[in-house]
Amino acid sequence: MGKAPHHLHRFHGGLHLPANKTLSSGSPIRALPIPARLVIPLSQHIGTAADVMVKVGEPVLRGQMIARAQGYVSVPIHASSSGTVVDITDHLIPHPSGLSAPCIIIETDGKDTAVDDTLSADHTQLDPSELRNRIRQAGIVGLGGAGFPSFIKLNPGTNRPIATLLINGAECEPYISCDDRLMRERAADVIGGAAILKHALNATECVIAVEDNKPEAIQALRDAIAQRSVSDFAVVVIPTLYPTGGEKQLIQVVTGREVPSQGLPADVGVICHNPGTAAAVHRVFALGEPLISRIITVTGTGVREPGNVEVRVGTPMADVIAACGGYTDRAQRLLMGGPMMGFAVGNDATPVIKTTNCLLVAGGNELPLPQAPLPCIRCGACVDVCPAKLLPQQLYWYAHAKDFDKVQDYSLFDCIECGCCAYVCPSHLPLVQYYRFAKTEIWNQEREREKADIARQRHEYRLFRLEREKDERAARLQQKQAALKTAKGETTAEDPKKAAIQAALERAKAKKASAGVMPKNTDNLTEAQQQAITNADERRRNRDSSTATRSEDA
């Protein structure tokens, strides 16, 4: 707004990829009908799975919280439509493992009745902590891919002032166009949501970065900014280059600042959010609607009517594909995500979740098939394209050799798994798979180490317990022997059993003897006291003789 054109920077490497976006970006977003059955996983975000709050057979309403957040890195889950909970069970979820995880299964009633609104509010009347809380209660997570709970990113701490809220509208991965359509059709929602996020962060400016291959979106956003007449908002047009949409890469392009290795964007005064997330935040405050639906690109030559659809979270992928005209004869593989960073989904009964940005149904030959890998020829092509400035061939070498210390020395965890290196590798090495293998292997080792530490402690404690029990037994024995010695003087106790019996006898005798002994402290008594004692003795003697027991001694 009256600002000088933004000076842009470059990140290392990157690729110009065939975009293939027009396949899906041509037609407006369509809202899909509500499916008969919703399969809603309890874990749709990074962090701890949510905790079930409903029972089988219970009726639920649209937007009703059905699982609450557990721990800090967690958000609640809501029913995407009204109906009845019919099961709470393990079901296939979208995950590269193809494993199942706990899900709440709802049979919808078709009425789509909404629950009472507790979320909508004028955000300007709320302080940042209340804003964060509502965003959390609404179940908002990053819709760009990873699904990190958004409220945490709005709480960078007081020691890190945030200058820039960066809305990541790059959408650099081929085929995907859901953010593009969203920014074109609902620019006002995106800007409205960004204003709320900016308020929550107390940021000085908001920059919306969009790749130059989306002119309509850029125009729509500029119009929306002008209309709302918000200050300190700017749309920045960035060159199309894969992977500009990587958080660190985008920050470098827009601000020229490099996020340190293993660091966070907040370290350089920036927080990134996806336009879809911003629009979802807008809906929370404007409509009181938690995150129960999202926009998904359905594309590829394997689907009859590619396009962008608005889908309720929990809709089975099969229903989504069916609503897009179904599979074509060419359909071969179903991917969640794009061709570079997505993963194969083995079964289309898998539901759509909060982080599903794209369903790519690849036709034959549409995606390069994995080819037989050849040895690395150390050509260095991978190094030239790596946007994280890593040495992919070294990472490959040490991951292949399972040398997990070395592979970390080469900053494995800075790898964003963009796939540029594997894309250019003339030896067709499945490089990213090696890095993913190494990462999960290292996490597993860490878990094992923690368990080993506990096992060590427990084992040491057991040894200590056994030792203590032995000591106690020994001490008891010693006590017996000592008692024996004092009782018998220096006599030899050859037969301990006999000796013990003897000792017991002596004790009994001593006790008997003591029974006849007069009480102590009986000197210098007054008359009255002496009288009382005599009376007492008298009473006792009478009682003893009347019961006719052990009388003589007394």
Binding site: S43, I93, H95, P96, S97, L99, A101, P373, A399, H400, K402, D403, F404, D405, P430, Q433, Y434, R436, F437, K439, T440, E441, N444, Q445, R447, E448, K451, A452, D453, I454, A455, R456, Q457, R458, H459, E460, Y461, R462, F464, R465
Partner: protein, 183 residues
């Protein structure tokens, strides 16, 4: 109900304190090299290495009385780490001591268990819960998979089962293994 929760809570706190205390009070000082070695060993406490647990094996390695390739649970990664630490050459696992297996945990068939307490006495990490003549059960999170409780059971009611794998513990397979599996 509340008293039960309270009682268990207090017990847990007490045991926590006791554990913490013993960790400090009875810290095994000893040889720093043995400590470093022990930190690498998996703490399964299974005895397959030929010693009465991980620490005795660690001490034997430190004293030069044992090879570094005798621990099956530690596997190749463990041997590599030991070789790195001690500046020795890597050697493959000595098969005499067993083979590296996927981690398992013990499960007691609670219908069959007669409550004889023999498994409790065998467990090196006190991961089995139960009292005389009462059904026993294994604390899954604490079981190291050492298998020491299996032979003593007079009614054979302890099974070793693979660890339940979920999305959070799943690992990407190595492309090398995928390739050999395809062949």
């Amino acid at each position: 109900m509340l008293t039960a929760i309270l009682a268990l809570g207090i017990l847990a706190a007490l045991f926590g304190l006791l554990l913490g205390y013993t960790a400090i009070r009875f810290r095994v000082e000893g040889d720093p090299v043995a400590n470093q070695i022990n930190a690498i060993l998996p703490q399964t406490q299974c005895g397959q290495c030929g010693f009465a647990g991980c620490r005795p094996y660690a001490e034997a390695i430190a004293a030069g009385e044992a090879e570094i390739n005798q621990c099956p649970p530690g596997g190749e990664a463990g041997i590599r780490a030991l070789a790195d630490l001690l500046g020795r050459d890597f050697k493959p696992l000595n098969e005499e001591h067993g083979e590296h297996k996927e981690k398992m945990i013990a499960v007691i068939d609670e219908q069959v268990c007669i409550g004889c307490t023999l498994c409790i006495q065998a467990c090196p990490v006190d991961a089995i819960l139960g009292a005389a003549k009462h059904m026993h059960t294994v604390i899954e999170a604490e079981c190291t998979g050492c298998e020491l409780c299996v032979p003593p059971c007079p009614v054979d009611c302890i099974d070793m089962v693979p660890l339940h794998q979920d999305v959070s513990t799943w690992k990407w397979p190595s492309p090398d293994e995928v390739a050999t599996a395809r062949k």
